[in-house]
């Protein structure tokens, strides 16, 4: 299993590099936002820019994983080795999750540290840590949802025109809008969780029933 994950990471190392660089920019923006309040107008623009790159990035990672493996006949070769379809799919999803964690964990840690620096502001707010967990778990699920949409795009035979994929994209944009309008919270997380679960199930069923020719 580790070999399969290592192979996926090596094949998609550019995405990990981009995720790492973005997490640094993201973390620096959080620090700048906290310590340089005069730049508060720039921060939302920067965050929007980062969000757009994240949406495109994670979606492309998922699509690239499933599409390149189809064109390069990777699964076809791997399945002749002592590997099952389940292991190949699990390695792929775990790689996607790792990339999202590379993107989100450093900003989450930075937010926590910055928050502790402003401990005075948060005194009495027992839910501070809970808030950070809530925000980043929602962001994680949103990224995972987009990643799964990408997986489906890559698995689709008729490219983006395939109805389920198009519906998936529309639904994920709708769900992201929901987070922007309603804010982070348990409701958004639950919706995203169900979306991720259904996307993963659908992707697995498609991958498991595929003929590798």
């Amino acid at each position: 299993m580790l070999t399969l994950i290592k192979r996926e990471i090596q094949d998609h190392k550019i995405y990990f590099l981009i995720a790492f660089l973005m997490s640094i920019v993201f973390s620096l923006s959080i620090i700048a936002g906290a310590y340089r309040p005069e730049q508060k107008d720039v921060i939302p623009i920067l965050f929007t820019f980062l969000a757009i790159i994240t949406i495109i990035g994670v979606c492309t990672l998922g699509a690239s994983q499933t599409h390149t493996e189809k064109t390069r006949k990777i699964s076809q070769f791997l399945l002749t080795l002592p590997v099952t379809r389940r292991q190949i799919f699990a390695a792929r999803v775990l790689t996607g999750i790792s990339a999202i964690l590379v993107l989100l964990v450093p900003p989450a840690v930075t937010t926590n540290i910055v928050g502790l620096g402003f401990a005075g502001l948060w005194q009495g707010e027992a839910s501070y840590k809970y808030l950070i967990i809530e925000i980043f778990s929602s962001l994680f699920l949103a990224c995972l949802g987009l990643y799964c949409t990408g997986l489906l795009c890559g698995l689709s035979k008729s490219r983006l025109a395939a109805t389920p994929t198009l519906l998936g994209l529309i639904l994920s944009i709708f769900l992201l809008s929901l987070i922007v309008i309603k804010g982070f919270g348990i409701e958004a997380s639950i919706i995203m969780f169900f979306y991720v679960a259904s996307c993963l199930t659908f992707s697995w069923l498609k991958f498991n029933s595929a003929a590798f020719i």
């Binding site: 399945l79 002749t80 590798f212």
Partner: protein, 302 residues
Amino acid sequence: MSEDVVVIDGLVKFYDGRCVIDGINLRIPQGCIYGLLGRNGIGKTTIIRILLGLDYPTRGKTSLLGEDSKQLSPRTRSTIGYVAEGHNMISSYKIDRLIRICRELSARWNDKLFNHLLEMFRLPTDRLVRELSIGMRAELNLALAMAADPQLLILDDPTLGLDTVARRQFLELAVDMLQKDGRTILFCSHILGDVERIADRIGILTGGKLVVDCNLEELKKRIKKLRLIFAEKTPDSLYLTEIINQQASGREMTITVANMNEQKQAIINTFGAESCEEIPMSLEDIFIECTRPKQSRIEQTV
């Protein structure tokens, strides 16, 4: 583990509404070298893909080493070596990376044997797979399959694109290394000489059906080609069953009959042929007779 290494029961496969495989039953015992023959696009590779779980059957069941093909466990997969048609390995990888992946995933990797094969084939390990010639790809594919120490080796047209010397070397190596330990080989090829040289048992696939499944000697005994010369015009029909092919011209008639026996010979004799001569048939002749399209057989018969 069952004694039959490969089991196919009532296999049916449709592609886009077209029946490619039409109810095939096959059993390959342990230690057998089985040559599966058939024309292009007849379904040989499809059978292999279904056996390996790369594709699914429309109906029927297949199993390898006693395990259902749809749910082959990594342990069983580790005892199967596969050399694919066209040698589709991951072409964008460097050879040493591909070797590392195979070594790490294989439960029974034999480093000593693999290095010996690399040396013998003089394969470079610092190049991309796609930069190799087709012959070198075939050798790399065989080396990777062999190094996993397989109980069952599936070769899907492995010598395609190899020159005569490399082809002979490739086959001899495959047979030498695997047969001495009583391992099983399922071998598909268009080169009938290769199959004739190494196979214990032959299967001929035509029209989605396995029309022949027996050992080579038995096949040559069972299918006979006879040249009959009649005193006058040839009869319209000899009223024989299992005629594979029949051609008539003037006083001469050539028939290819399956399961030739004394009873059939007696029926032929009743037509009063002046001479009845048996024409020796190679595997290639038998294959051509068995796979000839029905339409052309009828035209020739007429």
